[in-house]
Symmetry: C2
């Protein structure tokens, strides 16, 4: 039994690791925290821009949320903060609401963070973390690639120095780019492309070096030196210094209703991605356990933090978490160090960024999301699992063309429909004896098996339930027709039937009665425990006959061949009729 | 190969049976057709009233639709025409559209019949009959009982001689009855109750006697004799004589959108019920085959007929089909006879029904639907299948309180979610050897099995796919934790795994690698063909090792116990690695 103390330690993980903090971890935590903090400065500003907000809010979102996650999250290496996907979804959500001014835009952003927090925190408290299991890899993969394409395209205006109305549908974005492409500002594009090149090379050379901060610094110096801002290169401009003041989300039903699909997508995808990287990293650390529900609570708290301190939706970032781990982070202290670095920047260094060109922030985003576009997985699925390939591609195109808020929901629905569909057409095999043995195998897979005209041994691989009854019945009828009048014995091999529902039980009884009516020996073999219980409960054991329920096909066939009689059936037969007592 | 001739005969079944008509069938067809026709007169008028239409339209719906079904339907005993459920759904649908006058009401009714026809005919042509498989018995049962309750309550005004606004929600209907209950017209109620009593008794005594026509005739005589119409008993009044003229459905998008949920429900439920009775009857007739898609086409044509000749949605009726079959119907000729009888009535006898009291038609409906309320099935499900019980009860209450148009759709969704949910938590069993044998069975079901601390034999009953990966992993971890450091060998029994998707394959590989990393012998046993193919395709066979894939648990355990070595593995082992060539 869990004591109250364990309960508290599990609910607020910092109470577990901070009191037992080991000196030996300090240098790793400090170094990792600083590196991640340095990465966060340009990334935070870039993602704020992607979300359609002033860059300062990206820094705000990298303060309190990190502290709250360090208290409540169960991972000790996860680096929480603004990420590309959530920022893109934030922009997509707010475009629809058409805010009248930047103040309103910000209010919508913090409201969205609040809703994401409510969903994640609520799911965590209610122990509903399992619903995230219903997001399959192909759906996440298709969605992520599509979102990366949309994010990349959304940066084209900043990179090219052009301007157009925002959109979330690829067909509209491409049309808008086409309209404005002649207005390219070449200096801006040149700076951006140089930035992209350096970032790509730097990333390949040293993954833990804060190359983006170097590119940012260089670009500020160059823009200031050559006075490029006066030549039409868009820069960040003045950033207010100081810590974020308290902000209050909007409590307005219509706004909430519009935001719900986005909030759900951010909550689910944000958690799924964050949990995936946290799990990967956790494999290298045996000193703590990751807990899905606690992760939801930690991320929910971080989003509340973003909501009440002028941020926007946050989650665990892929690249920063990897860097954090590689740089030696051992506890949540690393995150506290990162937050502290951002707070110092906010207090003393904001004016340094005045001349930062927006095209460089676009370059930071483009390099970050380029790795999210995955072409290997669809190719591999095309070869190995055609159905999952279809799921991936459908999700990809739905996300691109119908809107990012429908990608996950429709993708998930599609993959669940596919599950249902395949369960409605279970694999079935006609078995034959491997000569000289007691093994029965699929006659269409192995040559030289016994295939007697008077015997049909049929294996059904899956549940018997309402949606597949007609399919199974038609298969049985067809097989029996092929055998014709010679057929004397039907063995229903139940070893890979996983469950039988009430419709299935009733139908099964009719099938058996129809066979018996035709004077065909009918028996059931190899039923597993839960299926045996169902057969007893619905009276199917009595219908087929107690002495017609066998452990295996060989015994059944020998019995009907009169090679053994009821008295000779081995001691083993009792296992074929066993029923659970508690039912 | 099918010839063009077979194709035509399958598409228009009458071309198959009429040219080969046997004289011996004639008397049965004539008698059955007449009996069903006589039943149709009061039932048609009653169901038209239930649908909110003038009684004459019930007779119209019993003419052309029957002829069209006789041409295109594949059942030879099914008696098509107006039925209670479809009529109730028709009324429910049109209430929402608030027609301004009776002409508009009729236009809506024929439009609904047209939409039902389009859906059924379309599904049949596209060979989509299988979607009806997704309607489970508990959902149909819950829906039917609820609809019967709603139909019964909708007859209260006619039975009691009161009047109030129609509604489709039980809470509103009961409220409305409560408001008007003091205005009961006692003579009306008395006539109705007498009618109900005679109908019940007559039905029990002689199922094929047209007792309802007798009750109708008696009531007409009594009402006329005592001049009860002047004393406030509501009567049918004058019915125009002659055949229906051509009617054209409304082509208006908004109307269609409102009607779609109802049209889908009528199309699905109408087909499901009709097909069920057709299947039951077909078991007694070996001279023809029932075809689900052809049935959809036949019913679709019948509904087109209803739409273009002033009818309303029709389908195969339960009681009339039973009577038709019991009275000796052998071909669709019986239906043609019934239709002819109705046509004669329309031409010459409509004025006979002037004094027919509405309360008697209400009595006919009440007696017809009373048998649809099923209390046995829920009780039996409560004992035997709790999940299906929940589905039935949920569908029942959704239908009563949220509206009949949502009952089927929500019930169907619920039951599909339940399928997904149960597949996300597959049954798993730890196996132990039955001492002295090569059988491995579930140790929690059988006492005295071997349960070694160094060995974990685990069977997973179900697919391995995205939605159950975490569940399975947690169970494996827990079982391994219980075994502790003593654990040396893990046998993954795959004999009841039905499929593995791409997410499952990747995860499985990780589980195996984690076990191997801990230096635990890991092997797979009993994988079925399609699962073997997947294991090969995703490289899991190479990961676990070719010599660690066994046919059965006993061989695997003996191998790791060094009782047999690789050279001694029997010839059978080749079966455990076989892969299908066409993949």
């Amino acid at each position: 039994m869990r004591t109250f103390q364990t309960f508290i330690k599990e609910s607020i993980p910092i109470l577990d690791w901070l009191p037992n903090y080991k000196r030996t971890n300090l240098s790793g935590d400090l170094y990792a925290g600083l590196i991640v903090g340095i990465m966060l400065i340009p990334q935070g500003m870039a993602y704020a821009m992607l979300a359609g907000l002033d860059p300062i809010h990206g820094l705000y979102a990298a303060t309190i949320p990190l502290v709250l996650y360090a208290f409540f999250g169960s991972s000790r290496q996860l680096a929480v903060g603004p990420v590309a996907m959530d920022s893109m979804l934030t922009a997509a959500s707010i475009i629809i609401l058409k805010p009248e001014n930047p103040q309103m835009y910000l209010v919508y952003a913090i409201t969205l963070a609040f809703l994401v927090g409510v969903i994640q925190f609520g799911l965590g408290i209610l122990r509903f973390g399992f619903v995230v299991n219903f997001l399959s890899h192909p759906v996440i993969n298709g969605f992520t690639s599509a979102a990366a394409v949309l994010i990349g395209l959304s940066q084209v205006p900043h990179l090219f120095g052009i301007e157009f109305a925002q959109s979330i549908l690829i067909q509209e974005i491409i049309y808008n780019i086409g309209q404005q492409i002649i207005n390219i500002h070449w200096i801006t594009l040149f700076i951006g492309l140089i930035g992209i090149s350096i970032l790509f090379i730097g990333k390949k050379l040293t993954p833990t070096l804060p190359i983006s901060l170097i590119v940012v610094a260089l670009s500020i110096i160059i823009v200031q030196l050559f006075n490029l801002a006066d030549n039409g290169v868009q820069v960040i401009g003045s950033i207010p210094s100081g810590l974020p003041t308290l902000s209050i989300p909007l409590f307005e039903l219509n706004t909430w209703i519009t935001m719900i699909p986005f909030a759900l997508t951010i909550a689910f995808v944000g958690f799924a991605e964050s949990y995936t990287i946290a799990k990967t990293v956790n494999r290298q650390h045996k000193d703590y356990k990751l807990n899905a529900n606690q992760e939801l609570i930690g991320l929910g708290m971080a989003n509340f933090g973003a909501s009440f301190f002028q941020g926007f939706p946050v989650t665990g970032g892929f690249s920063r978490t990897a860097v954090n781990n590689q740089s030696g982070a051992k506890t949540g202290l690393a995150s506290l160090v990162s937050a502290a670095l951002i707070i110092i920047t906010l207090l003393y260094f904001t004016e340094l960024f005045y001349h930062l060109p927006k095209t460089i922030l676009a370059a930071v985003i483009l390099v970050a999301v380029s790795s999210l576009i995955d072409t290997k997985t669809p190719l591999s699925l095309w070869k190995k699992d055609r159905m999952d390939f279809v799921m991936l591609i459908s999700t990809f195109f739905i996300t691109l063309t119908l809107g990012i808020q429908y990608g996950i929901i429709l993708g998930m629905s599609l993959s669940l429909i596919a599950v249902i569909y395949s369960a409605s057409r279970p694999h079935m095999a006609t078995l034959g004896r491997v000569p000289g043995t007691n093994y029965f195998k699929n006659i269409s897979r192995f040559p030289n098996l016994e295939n007697r005209p008077d015997l049909l041994v049929l294996r059904i691989d899956g549940p018997i339930y309402f949606a597949n009854l007609n399919y199974i019945k038609e298969r049985i009828d067809k097989l029996m027709e092929e055998k014709g009048d010679a057929l004397k014995t039907v063995v229903l091999n139940f070893e890979s039937i996983t469950s039988i529902d009430s419709s299935g039980a009733k139908e099964l009884e009719e099938w058996i009665k129809a066979l018996q009516y035709k004077q065909i020996n009918t028996c059931i073999t190899g039923a597993k425990g839960p299926v045996r219980d169902t057969l007893h409960k619905w009276g199917i054991v009595s219908c087929v006959g107690q002495n017609h329920v066998f452990n295996d096909d060989a015994t059944a066939v020998d019995y009907f061949d009169h090679k053994i009689d009821a008295n000779q059936l081995s001691e083993m037969q009792k296992y074929s009729l066993q029923q659970s007592k508690d039912d």
